[in-house]
């Protein structure tokens, strides 16, 4: 009887642990606003990795009134891609041990440069995004804010 109770307890503990693990990595999913307030980035999951694309831009059109394109892309054949909808955040993998997302990249359309990226949730609705080249020691950090529905 004691053995059955013990096995049941272990199974329950393992089950709740696995639920907690799944929930943690998916806390990244949502719509986020970088600190400059000029865009919204929607982060979702494809397979086991996380990706973010531009879903709103403060200035979606250029001076001529045409939709802004990825004109700085190093691959010339891709420069006609509209920035609205562009997937600037790619291949982020959750590291459960350190509680962060890493091994991915973030693209800056202003200069066509792709940086290594890692992200940490500082609070439920605050995400620290660090872009860097080579080692994470040298880079730039931005804080993104999650868009949440206003309570009535």
């Amino acid at each position: 009887m004691k053995l059955k109770l013990f096995i049941g307890f272990i199974a329950l503990a393992l089950l709740s642990f696995s639920f907690a693990e799944k929930g943690d990595d998916e806390k990244l999913i949502g719509v986020w606003q970088p600190s400059d307030g000029r865009s919204y980035i929607k982060i979702d999951k494809i397979g086991s990795k996380f990706f973010g694309r531009v879903v709103w831009m403060k200035e979606p059109n250029d001076e001529k009134g045409e939709p802004r394109l990825d004109i700085n892309n190093p691959d010339e054949s891709l420069r006609s891609t509209p920035l609205k909808g562009y997937r600037i955040l790619k291949d982020m993998v959750y590291n459960a041990e350190d509680g962060l997302w890493e091994d991915g990249s973030i693209y800056d359309p202003k200069n066509g440069t792709t940086y290594n990226c890692k992200m940490v949730l500082k609070a439920d609705n605050q995400l620290e995004v660090r872009g860097y080249v080579g080692t994470a020691l040298f880079g730039r950090t931005d804080v993104w804010t999650r868009l949440v529905k206003k309570e009535k």
């Binding site: 929607k42 494809i46 086991s48 990795k49 891709l78 006609s80 891609t81 909808g85």
Partner: protein
């Protein structure tokens, strides 16, 4: 004396290597079509994603040309065709096709913006469209990002055809 023997044996070894490599069969090329069925639902105006997950892809592709998957040396997308239907065409403004797998990063295969007249679109291909590493993974996901001009509350299915240029070593 020993030096001369050593040099002679090196020369023989080099000749043997050249002979062996010249006797091995050279690479052959074949073209195969790969069908994609990209699906998404409840799409809101703006940017959206359709996806198609693929499994056992390398073995299936190799079987198509009657080869073992180990004999495939390179697989490159040489053409990407996307076909919209009478419901999706009027509201679709741009197309961006990408692929990702667990061990490979997401890459762009092709893009098209704006869309010309018609329902079939050949994408402008990226410089690197080599997908063998993605096919080697247990599964890959094809992602079609598209901007739409109005909400689409039903399931949207878009068909794609990739022309793959396969280099392989004949048995």
């Amino acid at each position: 004396m020993k030096n001369i023997e050593l040099r002679l044996s090196m020369v023989w070894l080099t000749i043997l290597t050249i002979l062996l490599s010249s006797c091995s069969p050279s690479l052959s090329t074949e073209t195969v079509d790969m069908e994609l069925e990209l699906v998404g639902e409840t799409l809101f105006e703006g940017s959206n994603s359709l996806q198609y997950a693929n499994k056992n892809q390398l073995a299936d592709l190799a079987a198509t040309i009657g080869m073992d998957s180990r004999s495939l040396k390179s697989v490159v997308v040489s053409k990407a065709l996307i076909e919209l239907n009478e419901l999706s065409r009027p509201i679709t403004e741009s197309l961006l096709l990408q692929v990702v797998s667990d061990n490979q990063e997401l890459i762009t295969i092709g893009t098209l913006n704006p869309l010309p007249e018609g329902k079939q679109f050949v994408l402008s291909l990226a410089e690197n469209t080599s997908i063998l590493p993605y096919l080697k993974d247990s599964g890959s996901t094809w992602v079609l990002d598209l901007n739409i001009s109005e909400d689409y509350m039903d399931e949207m299915v878009v068909n794609g055809t990739l022309t793959l240029s396969i280099e392989y070593k004949p048995n």
